[in-house]
Symmetry: C2
Subunit: 182 residues, 2 copies
């Protein structure tokens, strides 16, 4: 197909700004697939998750792929700016709960928005924040509404914000949103 799903598109966009000297953040390590992807295409990655299980799954995946340029951080992305203080090129958020984990533990719009604001301060020119937003899970509808509403308030003099969504699918496919620093 020409029109890819949000996950595939999230990687396509990341590749536009990743390079051998780029620095990236995976704000939601989960099972580590985005972290692995970022690590394969840039200099170093900071990867956050609040769940020990997620950090361990990510560590295993990285070991299996001989990846050593990732700093795994067992903490919430809402404290992102305590760990990263220099400019970054790409920040990925894949919201919702840990695939295979408890649906009770999920990203929530309050901490996500705090993290987004911190990430926006770290972005270099033309740097991207790439957000995959789910809308079908337990708390997904509220998070989606709150995040999309936040996106409309972002300064248009400093950032471009684009949203991609499928119009005719009944299964509520994830939405992709991208924030680019001007």
């Amino acid at each position: 197909m020409v029109l890819n799903n949000s996950l595939t598109m999230s990687h396509e966009y990341a590749l536009k700004v990743l390079h051998s000297n780029a620095i990236a953040i995976d704000a939601t390590a989960g099972n580590g697939y985005d972290t692995l992807f970022l690590a394969n295409h840039c200099k170093s990655v900071y990867s956050f998750d609040i769940q020990q299980t997620a950090i361990e799954h990510t560590r295993e995946l990285l070991l299996k792929n001989n990846i050593s340029n990732v700093e795994l951080i067992l903490d919430s992305h809402e404290r992102l700016n305590q760990y990263v203080t220099h400019q970054v090129d790409c920040v990925m958020f894949n919201l919702g709960y840990l695939p295979g984990g408890s649906h009770q533990i999920s990203t929530n719009y309050k901490s996500t928005i705090i993290a987004l604001k911190q990430a926006m301060k770290l972005l270099g020119k033309n740097g991207l924040i790439i957000i995959v937003i789910y809308q079908g899970q337990d708390s997904g509808f509220l998070e989606k509404e709150k995040i999309l509403s936040f996106l409309t308030t972002i300064s248009e003099s400093k950032f471009i914000v684009m949203k991609y969504n499928f119009c005719n699918q009944s299964n509520h496919p994830p939405i992709l949103a991208i924030i680019e620093k001007k």
Copy 2:
């Protein structure tokens, strides 16, 4: 910038399905820029407009660029299926009024939706209909609402429909919508 505007993105997507044997339709010739772009990247183009001025401007632009693989049709795209009966790869709609022309003469949602339905029947597998939708002009808000509403009703078993729009811009930038035949 990484995030391009809707017009640039409309060409980027068209290039994904255009090739030396492709057949394309420009449903809204206007001043001819999309027709010229399509003609440069495929075998033949059918280009429609209801305004003689638009057809003349397009003819001049094509002549200036030594383009001869375009059939110019002075008629509404709502009669598209009377001129094109075989499979096509790409159909472009750039809605609204003729740039530089009268704002009284504009595409309207009724004929646009009729044309979209006809175009959907002509699309080959993975063929694209690419629509640039304005929302700031005289009748743009109504047309936008009606077209976006129509897009949600398209069969999800036969087509993917994707919408791209800017979230934080106050000047109502155009929206890009794409219909892909499965």
